[in-house]
Point group: C2
Amino acid sequence: MYAVIMAGGSGTRFWPYSRNARPKQLLKIIGKKSMLQMTVDRLLKLKFINDLFIVTRQDLAPLIQAEIKGVKPGNIIVEPSGKNTAPCIGLAALYIAALKEDAVMSVFPADHLIIGHRKFARAISTANHLAKKNNTLVTIGITPTYPATGYGYIQYESESEEDHFEAYRVRTFAEKPHLSVAKRFLQSGDFLWNSGIFIWKVSSLFKELKAHMPELYEHLMTIGERIRENRSFTDVWEEIYPVSIDYGLMEKVKRDVYVIKATFEWSDLGSWNAVYDRAPKKKGGNVVKGEGVVLDGENNFVQSNGRFTAVMGLDNIVVVNTEDATLVIPRDRVEEVRVLVDWLKRENRQELL
Amino acid sequence: MYAVIMAGGSGTRFWPYSRNARPKQLLKIIGKKSMLQMTVDRLLKLKFINDLFIVTRQDLAPLIQAEIKGVKPGNIIVEPSGKNTAPCIGLAALYIAALKEDAVMSVFPADHLIIGHRKFARAISTANHLAKKNNTLVTIGITPTYPATGYGYIQYESESEEDHFEAYRVRTFAEKPHLSVAKRFLQSGDFLWNSGIFIWKVSSLFKELKAHMPELYEHLMTIGERIRENRSFTDVWEEIYPVSIDYGLMEKVKRDVYVIKATFEWSDLGSWNAVYDRAPKKKGGNVVKGEGVVLDGENNFVQSNGRFTAVMGLDNIVVVNTEDATLVIPRDRVEEVRVLVDWLKRENRQELL
């Protein structure tokens, strides 16, 4: 099996800590290592992985090469521009196919938290077997714990596979739902969160792309030729229409996809609030990372890098202090940091993005 | 008339903008000049003032000499330590008496805002006449606009003086009252706020000090000798018990004190909220000084020096961002910044004080 980490994201939800030049995957959001390094370390521990690739943006490649241990410089694949996950995965598949035509590839987001390594290893191993045996697409699903509206959902058949009790056939994929729908999904018990982890043989992937995304498939074939000839493929890449692998492929293949129900602990750490939830609390439910203090306030999250932050008489707020910018926002509105980042874009405040 | 500006205060209420090494009077709290420079400028405009003294702390003297225009270096009087206002005023009186024994001296806080120069000039001029004619102590009172609990009050007789319709005899001085008492004061109509501005002949002051604060008087006489002999008076100064001029003297003299009812606009700018109140508002009642933005929030005050501050989804908060510290606090609790400063002292965070 070859592993691919998708590390091209911009991670605006952690502004001002995350910036365009240093997105979430390169930040120490939790613990002492960057999210990407934790993902690399997790995969390097899997004995059945032959090699590891990282797909990322041109501008991030030097940073990743300098900071991430355990990945060969030649295994950092550069996307000429962000085209969402389907082209990104297709590009990585070309590099893996060049090494071994019917290799299994596994695809991982760079910035998710996974706790419980043995359970994780077992899930990926099961997926590996299924992908080989059935020449099928396999995904990892997370048992939902609340009616999240920020994730895609996977509905699965009630009976698991004979040899793999954690594996189920997929019935349907559902995009990020409204709260009422999310509540129904949660109650029904037959929906999982889409983790963004995929496992398949590159030959299976190309077969399905040819059937369901013929245009992307053609572009990828051209790019494959260019790579073999050691020529630039930027012009071809720029013609590609950006689309996610979920929307572009998985939803169309559906019933021939398997989902492995994860037993490991998972979080996409999608916002400051998710970081707050996982952090050890001080008195009053406050979290203070770095230099700071909360006086007469409860359930606040303070992250202060390089200066002292004092919060007094306030509850349930997030304060993030960095070298050149400070954010103050209620905990229940951290998802809206994007609105602020959009404002900065409109105001052309490049130095703050 | 000789003017004295008391500029020794520490101004913790503006932390983190104000620091021990740069207290409120040296900050540009409002407008483009420091509070002290504005006070100096205001007094230099009064034609009947012969000369101007500043009393301050040892450590602030070089800063004041470097930054404040219009004051002779020799007119910066250094207190060996802070002893509250009575000793401070007594010390300045010694310097003035050495120049002219029956000179009128006027005393001003360094960090108050006064708008309406002609009205201010008339009040001080009236006080000057009264102090000369009656050999009495004169103070300036401010007509209260709300039941403030942070100021001392002056109760005055209902009939004004014959020749000076703005001048009244004082009936009593009242220290900072509780809210219910402050409300009664406001309703009664015969109370004024104590502005901390005093006018008297130095000979009158020493006469009253001798009668009501004999111990301080004796210490001052000894200090006067030391000054004449050009010797250090620190040892004598350190024996002085700290006490305010209001509590130590004015309350005791009472009925022989006159108060001039000010017609000028006055604010002691005692907190961030007072600064907010006076500042021009943006949409939604927000004030943003320096670099920052408020999105979806109302009536917030943001002061951001040297970095960008973003506030989103919050109302009625104060965010003050400086080079090395950030404060986040509700607007109606800014008076409690002192609690935070006390916490920093207990934690021995000298670098933040």
